[in-house]
């Protein structure tokens, strides 16, 4: 616990040291060093908690009404602390190089201080044991990330994105306030005093948690801030926001589930439903985007959907008393939290490196970067394969666990399990396939072929060492988690135990033995596959050594005069799928088809406005604005009238109170 506090202290202290520094580069180095050190310190108690050692909770008196400064770290908290610390430290290392070009014309002390503050707040959020402390940390976390999103505040769309984010996050927090009021039942807000609620109240609390935490996590249709805010932020911040900050929402939801007692069935159905919708609509929306970071943001919605799906299956397992399904579901959800942090972090960092090298995020203009920035390209390839759920990378393992949880439910007789489980199996397959298509498109269009439209500058591998190091580490982790899953998954037993209430032995039988064998096979086959690929590559290199190696332009295709315009564009690649799902996507396709034997001009443009925003939130907010217009009568602009309002309100309250008093 001392180490946790020291870590938080280091984060805040280095942030404050960096704050007034004029030299942005040095400020960044100090703050990043602090991030790495602080994150390193907090991993120690996190790992101890994950292993199952009890760490005494910390309880300090706090001059805030109702609250106490109470931190504790159990296996569930420890797991999330680990995720935060891992990506937080790596993204900080990356950020030093990434922001270096801005050091000349921008004060970097402020964003670095906010970055460290963001990390510290996320750590407090996942370890807080008091409602007030939790909400304060939550709010500061939201504000710090808001200011980081608006880093480039001279651009109109960044400011717009910032406001959207601020509004969404505060709407979510409003639900959380209500949630804690319900949980406290008029008593203390300390977590350990929360008792099981009577059933209708527990359901109210659950729904409040789903909406409040779901807004932060990005459940569809509460995700609308996500595709705006993530592209606007600097890339290492996007990586932290998408990779870790969304997960604080998942953490909150899981933590509330542990408090509420045995769940009714419909909670599981709701979570599975949210998971399926978020997964499908997230990946479909991702397919239709042309901004690289927007693709990644929508793909975060998809992955959060998968996490919710796993948690939903776990809840169903608890509700129907199927321990295997519960264990697998929650283990899959937790592992996917870690995996998504790793590969989405990697992909955002990769997208940042692309932006760094070319100056644009519009994939319709990019192409052929594989030759020009090979290290970024390879890291991005690993991330793409992992996020598509291909073995032997890490995404495969967690999706496999969730799939196994669903399969455990399919064979049940009770329709309440079998139907959602079957839907989950189908959805997992569909989402996986679409994700593969999405990232084939993203990687292919950005890195293969040749540049589609002229770039402003020749992209060069100027990627600073810190950026490369962070990406390489994350790519290595993608492989390591994929291969070593049979070792890793049993480590989740204490955390899953907190969520399911199952004993260590039961869980070890499921996660360690039954699934462990499958995972071991996955790891071994994966390793063998990698070895064969390596050998083949060696062999190819050896065979080519003595020969003459010729090269020809990409996309030659036997044409006499190939041009860059003959390639698939991002829009044309995605078009068949987008058309297939146009019912849910409402994509606008704007095209001129080629006509005749010798067509002269053809054009295709697809645009995918966000369905939830265009058909849900925008009309709703317009209606609210129209209603608010009517209140304009009250705003007279005369001081006297305003004072009258205040006086009348006070008088009415006084009379009301006294009238009721007797």
């Amino acid at each position: 616990m001392i180490l946790l506090l020291t870590g938080l202290g280091v984060l805040l202290a280095t942030g404050l040291v960096a704050l007034p520094w004029r030299d942005g580069l040095r400020a960044g180095r100090v703050a990043a060093a602090g991030s790495v050190l602080g994150c390193g310190l907090v991993t120690v108690p996190a790992v101890r908690a994950l292993v199952g050692w009890d760490t005494p909770a910390l309880d300090l008196p706090w001059p805030v009404p109702l609250g106490s400064f109470s931190l504790g770290i159990d296996a569930l908290s420890g797991f999330f602390v680990l995720v935060v610390a891992l990506l937080g430290a790596l993204a900080a290392v990356y950020g030093v190089g990434y922001l270096a070009h801005a050091a000349g014309h921008r004060r970097l002390g402020v964003p670095w201080c906010l970055y460290n503050l963001l990390l510290a707040c996320m750590l407090v959020v996942v370890t807080a044991r008091d409602g007030v402390l939790f909400l304060v940390a939550w709010e500061v976390m939201s504000l710090a990330s808001f200011f980081l999103v608006t880093f480039e505040d001279e651009r109109e769309e960044v400011r717009e994105a910032g406001w959207t984010y601020l509004l969404a996050t505060h709407l979510g927090t409003a639900f959380l306030l209500a949630l804690f009021l319900v949980l406290a039942q008029g008593g203390s807000l300390r977590f350990d005093t929360f008792r099981e609620l009577p059933s209708p109240l527990a359901s109210v609390a659950f729904l409040l948690a789903v909406v409040g935490f779901g807004t932060k996590a990005g459940f569809w249709p509460l995700h609308v801030w996500l595709p705006e805010a993530h592209p606007a932020a600097p890339s290492h911040v996007s990586a932290v926001m998408s990779g870790v900050m969304l997960k604080t929402g998942i953490y909150g939801l899981l933590r509330v589930l542990t408090v509420l007692g045995p769940p009714p069935r419909w909670w599981g159905w709701l979570l599975v439903g949210i998971g399926v919708t978020s997964g499908l609509l997230g990946v479909l929306s991702a397919l239709a985007q042309r901004d690289l970071k927007r693709i990644l943001a929508y793909s975060s919605v998809e992955n959060i959907g998968l996490v919710a799906l796993g948690a939903g299956l776990g809840v169903l397992g608890l509700a129907f008393d199927l321990p295997v399904m519960a264990a697998l579901g929650f283990a899959g959800a937790l592992l996917h939290v870690l995996n998504h942090a790793v590969f989405k972090g990697l992909l955002f960092l990769g997208a940042g490196a692309v932006l760094h090298a070319t100056g644009t995020r519009d994939i319709e203009r990019l192409g052929g970067l594989l030759r020009r920035v090979p290290s970024t390209a390879h890291a991005f390839l690993v991330g793409s394969a992992a996020i598509s759920g291909l073995p032997p990378f890490n995404g495969f393992v967690s999706e496999l666990l969730i799939l196994l949880a669903a399969l455990a439910g399919v064979s049940e007789r009770a329709g309440g399990v079998a139907v959602p489980a079957t839907i989950a199996v189908a959805a997992l397959g569909l989402v996986g396939g679409l994700a593969a298509a999405c990232f084939a498109r993203a990687f292919g269009v950005v890195f293969l072929g040749v540049p589609r439209q002229g770039l402003d500058r020749e992209p060069a591998e100027a990627t600073p060492a810190g950026m490369r190091l962070a990406m390489a580490t994350l790519a290595g982790l993608c492989v390591a988690i994929g291969l070593g899953s049979s070792y890793l998954v049993p480590r989740l037993v204490p955390a899953v135990g907190e969520l399911t209430g199952l004993t260590r032995e039961e869980l070890l039988t499921v996660l360690g033995w039954d699934v462990g064998r499958i995972l071991l096979a996955v790891g071994l086959v994966g390793a063998a596959f990698g070895l064969v690929a390596l050998l083949l590559a060696r062999l190819r290199a050896r065979m080519l050594r003595m020969r003459e190696v010729g090269s020809s332009p990409t996309w030659d295709c036997g044409y006499a005069a190939p041009t860059a315009r003959m390639q698939y564009t991002a829009s044309s690649f995605a078009r068949p799928i987008v058309e297939l799902f146009s019912l849910v996507l409402h994509t606008r396709i704007d095209e001129v088809r080629p006509v005749g034997m010798l067509p002269s001009g053809a054009r295709l443009q697809t645009r995918a406005p966000d369905v939830a925003e265009a058909h849900g939130f925008r009309p709703a907010f317009v209606a609210v604005a129209r209603l608010s217009e009517r209140l304009h009568v009250l705003q007279q602009g005369r001081v006297q009238v305003y004072v009258l309002y205040i006086a009348l309100a006070l008088l009415v309250l006084l009379v009301w109170q006294l009238g009721l008093g007797r």
């Binding site: 007279q636 005369r638 006086a647 008088l651 006084l654 006294l658």
Partner: protein
Amino acid sequence: MGWEIDPILVALVLVNLLLLGASRLAACVRLVAVQGVLLGVLALLVQVGWSPWRAVLLAGGSILLKGIVFPRLMWKALRGAEIRREMEPYVGYTLSVLLGLGMLGLTVWVGGRLTLPVPAASHLLVPVALFTTLTGLFLIVARKKAITQVLGYLVLENGIVTFGIALSHEAPLSVELGVLLDVFVAVLVMGIIIHNIREDFDHIDADRLVSLKD
């Protein structure tokens, strides 16, 4: 000891009613000054029994500021603004007095029901305090000239002080002195602002200052 402060409380009520019915600004200023002096005496009478030094200090400060300094500032502002009376109030003077009587009734009802942590020095104290507060608010709402607004603010503050006297055992000396200082600064600032408004706009009608509305 209700008998010795009740006359003062009644005088306070009468001053309030006069204020509601007065149209000449100079008279208003004088009435507020009288109210300030009355308050000082009231504080002296209520508190002298258990803490003479403190009572003398507070009463002296109150009389000095509210009876002498504020009226001077006001007169200065009045002379600068060259206005004599409030011409078109939102609520007419007769109606103001009638509404004032209504408010008095309401506050007596409230005073009867309100339970205080410590018993007040007189059963009239709470109604009078509330009535003075409401009168101040009413003046702010119902009058147009900026100077009447300042007077309303002062009356409002007098009401709060009266209430404080009712609970004087609870409020430490520093708080009361702080309130006094607050009011002093506020009146000073308002005097300056009135002066500047007149310089810039040639009038001090608060109802015509609506161009800042969103």
